[in-house]
């Protein structure tokens, strides 16, 4: 297989291998926080930022510390600690620096530490043996892809609340899953443009 470039990976992570719609990662907060456009925009921005930075950090930790020392099996613990510590740090910095930014972004950071999309992105990097630039592309792309999906979802759900009559049993999470399925079908239209794995 030809090695993919930075932008190819970025594109693939956003569209063809969207971390939410094809790998189902980050579903909990996707379903829980997608009722309003504003909240999901804040959460989406926070996820883009955290995924991009932590996947690069974790890549570096894995490539320079864990792999040379043969501590491969410790990666779960190390990755989750890096992510948790990083989100905590960013939350503290944002709180000091800007009140407005804290209101829009900071509130979501603790939630994000347990978002599986972020840990998942780091684990995929390792499994697929990415190089540094691939890791950057994949981290940014995954975050952007997730944010795109949650924004689309929030937009659809807001409309749905005003116009549609949903069967009682499907209210809430049920209909959200149907929408997500339809979105996943739509995203399958991008298949074949670039492929990861």
């Amino acid at each position: 297989m030809q090695p993919l470039g930075f932008f190819a990976i970025l594109f693939a992570a956003v569209f063809t291998n969207n971390i939410l719609l094809t790998n189902y990662l980050g579903m909990c907060s996707f379903l829980g926080c997608s009722r309003e456009l504003k909240t999901s925009a804040g959460l989406g921005a926070a996820v883009v930022f955290v995924t991009a930075t932590t996947s690069v950090l974790n890549w570096a930790v894995y490539a320079y510390v864990l792999a040379p020392l043969g501590l491969d099996y410790l990666r779960f613990i190390v990755f989750i600690v890096v992510i948790a510590a990083f989100t905590q740090l960013v939350e503290m910095i944002i709180e000091r620096v800007s009140e407005a930014l804290y209101q829009s972004l900071g509130l979501f950071l603790p939630l994000i530490a347990v978002n599986c999309a972020i840990l998942g992105a780091s684990l995929f990097l390792v499994i697929r043996n990415y190089t540094f630039w691939h890791a950057c592309g994949y981290g940014i792309g995954s975050g952007v892809g997730w944010a795109l999906a949650i924004l689309a979802m929030a937009g659809i759900r807001q409309r749905l609340q005003q116009r549609a009559r949903v069967p009682r049993g499907l209210e809430g999470p049920g209909i959200a899953l149907v929408i997500a399925g339809t979105m996943a079908l739509a995203f399958m239209g991008f298949n074949g443009m670039v492929s990861l794995n």
């Binding site: 719609l21 094809t22 790998n23 189902y24 990662l25 980050g26 579903m27 909990c28 379903l31 829980g32 099996y73 410790l74 990666r75 779960f76 613990i77 989750i80 600690v81 948790a84 530490a113 347990v114 978002n115 599986c116 840990l119 998942g120 684990l123 995929f124 499994i127 069967p167 009682r168 049993g169 499907l170 999470p173 049920g174 209909i175 899953l177 149907v178 997500a180 399925g181 339809t182 996943a184 079908l185 399958m188």
Partner: protein, 205 residues
């Protein structure tokens, strides 16, 4: 506090408080691994092991964990157990381990494990927490197995390589791909809620 018996807690986690279709927790892995029944079964066993023992361990340490760092402590305990599962799979079931890929590691961030650690293990004695973790795991497992059965049957025309639907069956390929998972879970929730809602409506008058 009027404590529910352990048995009542057990039944609640399987039915009215089921983690997957009532609380909508742990959906990520629910959808990702359910295209093949065998992988699903392995994943479920892993999750049952992790939830029950992490709950027991956290409960044993609950008076010693400082509240400020409790999330961190919980995650570390859970991660240790997940590493055990991962190494075990790599040693004895390398094929399945490869197919499951990152999803074994993602048990760490599975909301079921964290949710039960926070809600139950921090305030209850070890045995009760263990029962809670075990039943939450089983509640998760049977929903997953049901979904996996539907998906694999419709998507490949058989279970575990044994053809069941006959030669005339055209594989419904979308079922084993991403959108199928969303739709099957949505229908599952719809059916279950429909059944649960009826008695509630009657009781309400």
């Amino acid at each position: 506090m009027a404590a529910k018996s352990n048995w009542a807690l057990f039944r609640e986690n399987l039915g009215s408080q089921n983690p997957v279709f009532v609380q909508i927790l742990g959906i990520c892995s629910t959808l990702a691994v359910t295209n093949v029944v065998k992988n699903t079964a392995v994943m479920c066993l892993g999750l049952i092991f992790v939830t029950s023992f992490s709950n027991a361990a956290i409960s044993l340490l609950r008076n010693r964990i400082p509240p400020r760092v409790r999330m961190m402590a919980e995650v570390l305990i859970i991660a240790c157990l997940v590493i055990i599962v991962d190494l075990f799979l790599k040693a004895f079931q390398p094929d399945i381990s490869r197919q499951l890929g990152p999803y074994v590691g993602l048990i760490i961030t599975n909301c079921i494990v964290m949710g039960h650690a926070e809600a139950v293990a921090l305030t209850n004695p070890p045995w009760r927490s263990f029962v809670d973790g075990l039943s939450a795991g089983i509640g998760y497992a049977y929903v997953l197995l049901a979904i996996a059965l539907v998906r694999e049957l419709l998507g490949t025309g058989g279970i575990a390589g044994v053809p069941l639907l006959g030669a005339g069956w055209v594989n419904w390929a979308v079922m084993v791909m991403a959108p199928g998972g969303f739709f099957v879970l949505a229908v599952f929730i719809w059916i279950v809620k429909g059944l649960l809602l009826k008695p509630a409506r009657k009781a309400g008058g």
